[in-house]
């Protein structure tokens, strides 16, 4: 049975074992099809998601607001931007770069595991889609546990695959289960290869389920930032930075939680904060934020009150905020770690110089993911080097944080190699 037809009820260990056995039985045929055929169909799948008129894309746009809490407008904008670079050609290039056979005196052959257990997390559809596509690309069937905050995307992927290539769809089994069910967890994590995304605590817990010989590709808690050269920031930069915050309501690892501001004339930081607030207010009309639960709203309310209280205590802190909790801009002059309430709550930290910037970025190790760079002109390479030194896996322009290329080295690691067995096959010589 493919994911298309599976029930939504939580599965038992026995049911997971059965699903694993079923997809494992497809493994040999999946591998025998060859990479080019697999990549063609998976490329078609990605093109479906890129096409606003496709059924898969329409399904995502219509079903995810209820499943994830994003507003339809924000979801549409995020999907449009996020899938745009993920072309069939880009997938082929990724495969070619990481695992395609190459060499002359010897050949490298690759093979995927008999099956890969994929643990999805969060509520953003793109990483979920890619997490299912990647093992299939290397010929490994997928046992997939949907995210608790998105039980829909995996099913839409399976449905779309079923329309493109029913056999590929049969290589995907969606197995929702209760994470507290140890037997079910044991069955799921007994896969020869495991790919998972989660908090550091979740990933540490998953490590404990895995044996020494299981392959694993694990993605941990990450945050992103922007570094803004106030001397060279334009109005359009501010518009794009606001978009980086607003898309996915700041809930992705590529969502910026803090902007580090350097340079600029006196008062430039306040001007920037005001301009950003204006843009976030405008975006709230065009791309409204999703509803949030009371606990998240409490954090925002408290962090706003905290900023006001610190200002009252004479500290250089200023607050720009919407009526409700829809967006918040707090301008700080200290890089001290503070809570990140998310849901369009951005801290701007005005730093005196590049030494302070270096210290501020250093504090984000080992959690730094993406950095949007604004300005810097001839010093750009120098700042990029600092970002990379502190573990950034991606440096991009403002407005592009939510549009990573398909071959983005998420968590500083290759996408396919970690789940691929490689063999050197030497060519016989006469």
């Amino acid at each position: 049975m493919s994911g298309v037809h599976e029930a939504t009820a939580l599965m038992s260990a026995a049911a997971i074992d059965e699903a694993a056995a079923r997809i494992c039985a497809q493994s040999a045929e999946l591998r025998s099809r060859g990479a080019s055929e697999r990549l063609k169909h998976l490329g078609d799948l990605l093109e479906c998601f890129r096409d606003p008129e496709s059924r898969a894309r329409r399904d995502l746009e219509s079903r995810l607001p209820a499943a994830t809490g994003f507003t339809p407008e924000t979801l549409r904008a995020g999907i449009e931007l996020g899938f745009a670079p993920w072309t069939a050609d880009a997938l082929e290039r990724l495969y070619a770069a990481e695992v395609a056979p190459h060499g002359s005196a010897s050949q490298v052959r690759s093979s995927g595991a008999p099956h890969t257990a994929v643990l999805l997390a969060g509520s953003i559809p793109m990483p979920s889609v890619l997490s299912i596509v990647l093992p299939l690309a290397i010929g490994s069937p997928v046992l997939c546990k949907p995210a608790s905050r998105d039980d829909t995307t995996a099913r839409i992927v399976a449905d779309a695959l079923g329309e493109i290539d029913p056999f590929l769809a049969e290589c995907v089994a969606i197995t929702p289960f209760d994470a507290q069910n140890d037997d079910a967890s044991s069955a799921f994590f007994s896969a020869p290869c495991v790919s998972a995304t989660g908090s550091d605590e979740t990933i540490d817990a998953i490590h404990r389920w895995l044996g020494p010989h299981q392959r694993r590709v694990l993605y941990r808690h990450r945050v992103s930032v922007a570094v803004v050269d106030l001397a060279n920031v334009t109005r359009e930069d501010v518009v794009q930075l606001a978009l980086d915050i607003a898309l996915w309501d700041q809930l992705g690892c590529l969502s910026p939680v803090v902007f580090h501001l350097v340079g600029g004339a006196e008062g430039a930081d306040e001007d920037f904060a005001a301009a950003l607030a204006t843009e976030l207010a405008a975006l709230e009309t065009r791309l409204p934020r999703g509803a949030i639960d009371p606990a998240a709203a409490v954090v925002i309310a408290n962090e706003r009150a905290d900023a006001e209280m610190r200002a009252a205590l004479g500290q250089p802190v200023s607050l720009h905020a919407s009526e409700g909790t829809h967006w918040t801009v707090v301008l700080e002059h200290s890089a001290e770690s503070r809570p990140a309430p998310l849901h369009r709550f951005i801290r701007l930290v005005a730093l005196p110089d590049r030494v302070a910037l270096r210290e501020a970025l250093g504090r984000l190790v080992p959690h730094l993911a993406g950095v949007a760079l604004v300005g810097f002109r001839d010093r750009r390479e120098e700042i990029v080097d600092v970002c990379v030194e502190f573990g950034a896996s991606r440096v991009c322009e403002a407005g592009r944080l939510q549009a990573p290329p398909i071959d983005w080295k998420r968590d500083n690691q290759p996408l396919l190699l970690g789940m691929t067995s490689l063999a050197t096959v030497e060519v016989a010589t006469d």
Binding site: V299, N302, E303, T325
Partner: protein, 381 residues
């Protein structure tokens, strides 16, 4: 502080002390309102930062006419600076909030402990030792699963236990945490050998450590049945730290392993920044024949709880969770109106009974429970 203002605070405190010492807790709304407004005026005038904070909200003693219009400060503000209404030289005690090694700790500075202790004693007596109010005080001993206040002078929790222990605890009372380590073997031996009821008081974390120690011993020694009338006072959640045990599960385990019925396990909701605490009704109800009320926290008459919709800042709708805002008149020297990072819900709106649903996810982890646990971890390292 001018003589006039000093008099003003003294007068407020004198009235509060009288109120706290009254044997019957009467919900006197007019008395609360009057004192709250006078205290707000005093604090507005003597804490510049608070005055600026209130003024930014257009709330001053001139235009605030009801107690619930008094702006609350976030508890996190106690990390940012000294929120006091007296000269720093007058500080006689500073309590610190718990925190990780990388985060700042909040501080409550006090220039007198009189009101602080006057508030805590009738409260703990009423809800943890209700026999006292019934006139039948048994010489019950307290075992405290927290450090001695001499070892943790900046811990408000240890101070509270110290005051209570000195005021009305029996001869076998004492502390079971030494150098940051729960002396579980000695405590378990004591629990096994006692033939008098005991009051076990400590953090949720401490009780988890005790249960773990009991698990280790259970295979050899079986479970403990403490004498009837024994009770537990547990304070502090898990605050986002590891080894969290849901309250229901914790109480079930404690009941089973120690032979203490659920309605003899009292949770206390308190925080370093507050002078008063809020206890569960269960033991009080049991001793006063009020069976059947659901578990809820009771606010002493000199405090008020508000639950606010975090989106609007208005009163949370009936049945919905809201930010817990506390107006505690015992906080005369700092700020009386505090906005916590906790979510709460009314259990009995009419009587003011509420429950705390927990800390909002994403808020900083803090609390007395953590301080104790970190000390354990450090000791184990």
């Amino acid at each position: 502080m001018t003589g006039k203002h000093h008099q003003s605070r003294s007068a407020i405190e004198a009235e509060l002390l009288d109120w706290m010492c009254e044997p019957v807790w009467a919900d006197d709304a007019a008395r609360f309102e009057t004192l709250a407004l006078r205290l707000f005026a005093f604090q507005f005038e003597h804490c510049d930062a608070y005055a600026r904070y209130c003024a930014a909200r257009d709330a001053t003693p001139r235009n605030v006419s009801r107690w619930f219009e008094i702006p609350p400060v976030p508890t996190s503000a106690f990390k940012a600076g000294a929120l006091t209404c007296f000269d720093a030289a007058g500080t006689v005690k500073t309590f610190h909030t718990s925190g990780t090694t990388t985060s700042k700790r909040g501080a409550l500075h006090l220039d007198t402990l009189a009101l602080y202790e006057a508030s805590l004693l009738p409260n703990i007596r009423r809800f943890v030792f209700p026999e006292v109010d019934c006139g039948a005080w048994p010489t019950m001993s307290m075992r405290v699963l927290a450090p001695d206040p001499m070892d943790a002078p900046d811990s408000s929790l240890s101070h509270m236990f110290g005051v209570a222990l000195e005021a009305f605890a029996g001869p076998a009372s004492g502390y079971d945490v030494r150098d940051g380590v729960l002396e579980s073997d000695a405590l378990i031996d004591r629990l096994k050998s006692t033939d008098e009821p005991l009051a076990l008081c400590g953090t949720a974390f401490a009780f988890v450590h005790l249960l773990e120690a009991l698990d280790g011993k259970a295979h050899r020694e079986g479970e403990i049945a403490l004498p009837g009338g024994s009770r537990i006072m547990e304070t502090g959640g898990f605050k986002g730290r590891s080894r969290e045990v849901p309250q229901g599960e914790l109480y079930e385990s404690l009941s089973k392993r120690l032979g203490i019925p659920d309605h003899h396990i009292v949770n206390q909701y308190g925080m370093t920044e507050l002078g008063s605490q809020f206890y569960d009704n269960v033991l009080f109800d049991d001793y006063n024949g009020k069976e059947g009320r659901p578990r809820q926290k009771v606010a002493p008459p000199w405090t008020r709880i508000r639950l606010l919709d975090p989106e609007t800042g208005e009163r949370a709708r009936e049945g919905e969770a809201g930010i817990v805002v506390i107006h505690d008149l015992a906080n005369t020297g700092s700020i009386a109106a505090l906005q916590t990072a906790d979510l709460g819900r009314w259990v009995d709106r009419a009587s003011g009974g509420f429950e705390v649903l927990g800390r909002a996810q994403g808020a900083e982890a803090r609390g007395c429970s953590i301080a104790a646990d970190e000390r354990w971890q450090e000791a184990h390292r």
